[in-house]
Every structure is written in structure tokens, then in C-alpha cells.
Amino acid sequence: MENDQPLWLTFIVAFVLMNVLLVGMAYMTWFERKVIGAFQDRLGPTRTGPAGLLQPIADGIKLLGKEDLIPRAADKVVFYFAPLIVFVTAIVGVAVIPFGGTVEIFGRDVNLFITDINVGALFIFAFSGIGVYGIILGAWSSANRYSLLGGLRSAAQVVSYEIILGLSLVGIFILSGSLNLRDILARQQEPLELGPLEISNWFILSQPLAFIIFLIAAVAETNRAPFDLPEAETELVSGFHTEYSAFRFSFYFLGEYISMIVVSLFASTLFLGGTDGPGSDRYWGLGVLWLLAKTILFLFFYVWLRATLPRFRFDQLMGVAWKVLLPLVLVNIVITSFIRLAANEGIPTGWWWVIGAGGAVLLVILVVQLFTSERESSAAPATVRQP
């Protein structure tokens, strides 16, 4: 740890942050309804408070007052705790996001980050990996076929896109040489000189392909439209939370929105320089504001997608992950590492060229084989399944 701040102070920061996140989540729903309203030429919520600003509170109170139904056939204990898993794992992910350095508040040095662990970026993947259990166990314990199918879909989708999400960041790890989000942030604040211009070296500039892939995978990872197959109401009632009601239902809702916010914070930190922006080196408050502005940009993008795109089909969804994005991330890794190597050691010479050419030829052979030989794929007729 960089400075020895007492544990209770860190915990207070964490607790405040968690509550801010909850309120932010509530107003995210308001924001989404307003923006979608605007997209559809409506007003969105207007009745509760000015511009409907009290709507999230009204929703929360309404959900608190609803009867908490438990299906007779449900596995009670699992049914009780599964939504909490989603909620807890979503909210703990924010622990590794840096909101700034060490600043002075009320005459005391306070860290504007909760933890400074070496594996920060992987930490978020680990917790989103556990979050899958909340969905799959909730779906299973409901003893309802729509729930189970939704849960299985969700798990298959989340795990497929988790690989893409993880591998898309490898380029950043190569360039920054660390998994620590604070190091990654510091690395992006180094200036990049473009002729007379001097700008911050955000990773979106050096990793544009990774950025696009990360965005797509993040939308799928959080089960949002157009990848919201697990809760496709046209086919699955409402997917894995069909049997959930009252506040137990709202934990799934909370989890989804909180993980949206956390993923947006994560993306801003990784690709858009996080707290970096004009004036952020002088006033820490400005840094936090910059981070929030970038996050809201991402959240707006999420809502925009939902307002614009129709839902994918499940086979399309899995096809995009496994056949398009996975090869692309691997290509991104190889290209990034090659350029980095060339930058570190100069253009490779001699037998390295031979190895490179040989590898390229082998790759071409593989790809040609893939697309020319007779494929036993989706074209395989259903008649194979004869008794």
C-alpha cells in the first residue's frame, strides 16, 4: 500500500462509494427511461417530482411493499440467496477502480481508491465470474423451465464473452506491463507528442480494435440489449428471474445496472484515461468529474444501443463471440506484441524473418483449410438424428 491510511478510513471511503453506487444505479434507471423516451419521442417519467426525478425512489418503495413469492417447488435456500450473489459481486467490483490519488480532505490524507491490488483488472473478471452463479443458481432453484433455459443461456453467454473481454485487454497489459489499474492509469497520463500537439496517451489511441471488441463484449457480459437473450420476453417470459418478485427480483435488476456502471468505470479507466483530463492534475475533484463524464458517455452508449438495435438470435450471439471476436482478439494480441517487440528491439532481422514468414504461411494454410474443405456444420441435415 502506498500510504498507510488506517483501515477504518478506507472502509468509510468504500462504504460511501457503495452507497453512491446504489444511488447512481437508481438514477441510472431514471436516465435510461428519459433517454429512451427522447429516442421514442416521448417524455419519460414526469409525474413524480420535477422531471420525474423521484421516480426511482417511488419504484424502490413500491418494490419493498410487494409480496415476496416463493414457488412451491423451489429450492428454498438457494432461491433466497442467489439474487444476493449477483448484487454483492456487482458492487464489490468497484473496489479496484481508482478515482484519483491521495488527496487532503478535512486536513487528513485520504486515498481516492479503495484497494491497490496488483491484479486489479483480473479482480473484476473474477467477481463477474462468480456473479454467473447468482443467475444460474437462481434459475435452477426456481424450478421453472423458462428460468432454467434463461439461466443456461445467460451462463453460456456470459462465459463466452468473458474470454473476449479478458483477452481484449491483453494489449493494454503488454503496453503498461501491469495488471494494476493505478499503474495503467499512470501509464496513460504520459504525454504523447504528435508534432506540435501534446496529448495524453490514452489506450484508445493505441488499442482501437481492443476498445471496440471490449465495448461489444461488455454489453454482452452485462446481459444488456441487444444481447439480452437471457431475459428475452418474447420467448422466455422474463428469463432467469421469471419466478422472482418483490425485492428479491430487484436484486437482479440492481446487479445488472450496477455492473453496467462498474463496467463503464472500468472501460473509462482502461481506455479513456480515467481521471485524466484538463486540470485534473491540479484539482482532484475535476479528475473525479472527468471520470464520471466518461462513464456517463458509456452509459449513454448502452441506452442508445437498447433504443436502436433489435435483439440478436442466440446462435448469432454465440457465433459473434466464437467466430468473429475470438479470432480478432488473438490477432490483436499478436499484432500488438509484434509492434511492441519491433519498437523495443528494432525491426527483426535474419532468421526472425524466416520464422515470421513460416508462421504466416502456416496460418494461411490453416485458414485456407478452414474455408475450403467440406464442412460438416450447420448444413448437416437433421436426418442424422434417426433412432
Binding site: 496488483n118 454467473v132 462465459v159 506491463g177 433412432p387
Partner: protein, 243 residues
């Protein structure tokens, strides 16, 4: 007792108890949940040992990937097709017991080897921490060892993983490999005891907005839901009252 020792014992206790839960639980899905808990606590122990990368890898690979696979399989397989969960054949039971004892012995030897004989991988804990800090952290230290000293095993791993891909495809998609043999494919079960997720109770009809069995009609024992079967595989004869 220092507080980190107390935390260690708490984590260890949860770990052991949940491991016991894996064995004791009646429902295979409950066993899987206990296993998740166990792995999570093992990751916490890794953190306490300073192995941060290993802890995160443990969570990502074991709880995030392998147990998801286990859960999928549990939900795909009809529990009726499985052997009785706690009534394995005597041979299996004894072999299992024997393997467990051998494992226990191995762990015991490993612990004694370190604590009694006093052999240590790194002589000085402080020195070790300094080395790790010097290269920039746990992940960096691990990577440097893995990609220099253990390069060959690392490359062999990719072969093992490729074999894994092939194995999965052979197991799950036999018809894609040209085997024309018919298999019952794709059974998933909710994992609940038979019949508990049947529809409405046979309670008073008046309360339900849905029409129950009409009075006078033949009432099928075991609920009227059983005989009406929809959405079956057209190639398979419905077998009513199997087993």
C-alpha cells in the same frame, strides 16, 4: 493470537466444512455450491500467502469456468440416469476410501516435510517478498519463472488443452463425427426430485382461475399433468411412467 492467524483459521474452517458439505449433500447441485464456497476460501488462503495472481486464477478458472461446466453437466444429465449418489458399488466405495487415505497421507507428508524437517523453498520470507517487489509484483514474478524456467511444460499445456477440445467434441457431438449411432441427446433435468415441479396442486379447484380436471373425468393418480405430454422429440416414443 495475531489477527491474521484468526482470519486464517476462520477461512480454513469454512473451507473444510464446505468440503465436507460437498460429500454430504444429497443434491448434486448443492454439492457444486459447496465446492464453489470451498474454492473461494482456498483463493482467500492464497491471498493470505501473498499469491494474488494464483488467487485470482483460482477464482477465474476453478469457480468461474470449471464449476460452470460441472453445473451445466449436472443440469444436462437426468439424475435418474446416474448411479445412486450415496450407494456406489462396494468396490467403488473401498477404492474411493483408499484413494482418500493416500491423498491424506500425501498431504500429511507434505506438511511434515515443511514444518518438522524444516525444508523451505525460500529461506527467508522477507527476502522473498523483496524479490517479488523488485520485479513489480506477484504476477510479474510468476511470469518470469514460467516463461524461462518452465517453458517446455508451458508449451505442452497447449497440447493438453487441444486434446481437451477434441475430447469435448467427441463426447458431445458424436453425430458430427459421422457416427450414426443413435443416442438420447440433450436431456436436462431440473435436478429436483421427481415430480416436485409439477404444475398445480390437486387442491380445491375453485381457487384456481384455471380449470382443473373436469368433475367425473378419470382422475389420473399422481396429478393430471402427467399424461398430457407436449414438446417431445418427434423421434422418441413418450414413455409414460418410466421406472
Amino acid at each position: 493470537m495475531p489477527w491474521d492467524v484468526i482470519i486464517f483459521y476462520m477461512i480454513g474452517a469454512v473451507c473444510v466444512l464446505s468440503a465436507a458439505g460437498v460429500v454430504v449433500a444429497n443434491n448434486p447441485v448443492h454439492s457444486a455450491i459447496f465446492l464453489v464456497l470451498c474454492f473461494f476460501n482456498v483463493a482467500a488462503i492464497f491471498v493470505m500467502l501473498g499469491a494474488e495472481f494464483l488467487a485470482v486464477a483460482q477464482i477465474i478458472v476453478y469457480t468461474g469456468a470449471i464449476l460452470v461446466l460441472v453445473l451445466f453437466v449436472l443440469m444436462l444429465v437426468d439424475p435418474d440416469d446416474l448411479p445412486e449418489f450415496h450407494a456406489a458399488r462396494p468396490v467403488q466405495r473401498y477404492v474411493g476410501l483408499l484413494l482418500g487415505l493416500i491423498l491424506l497421507l500425501e498431504v500429511g507428508v507434505a506438511i511434515l516435510d515443511r514444518s518438522v524437517v524444516g525444508r523451505r523453498a525460500v529461506a527467508d520470507q522477507q527476502e522473498f517478498t523483496q524479490i517479488v517487489d523488485l520485479v513489480g509484483g506477484n504476477t510479474q514474478a510468476l511470469g518470469r519463472t514460467l516463461y524461462t524456467q518452465y517453458l517446455l511444460p508451458f508449451e505442452v499445456i497447449s497440447l493438453v488443452l487441444t486434446v481437451g477440445v477434441i475430447g469435448a467434441i467427441v463426447l458431445a457431438l458424436p453425430e458430427r463425427l459421422g457416427e450414426r449411432l443413435y443416442r438420447r441427446r440433450g436431456t436436462i433435468s431440473l435436478g429436483h426430485p421427481r415430480g416436485t415441479d409439477l404444475a398445480l396442486p390437486a387442491g380445491p379447484v375453485g381457487e384456481s382461475p384455471i380449470a382443473g380436471p373436469t368433475p367425473g373425468a378419470e382422475v389420473v393418480p399422481g396429478g393430471y399433468g402427467r399424461r398430457l405430454i407436449m414438446a417431445r422429440d418427434p423421434n422418441e416414443q413418450p414413455v409414460i411412467g418410466r421406472r
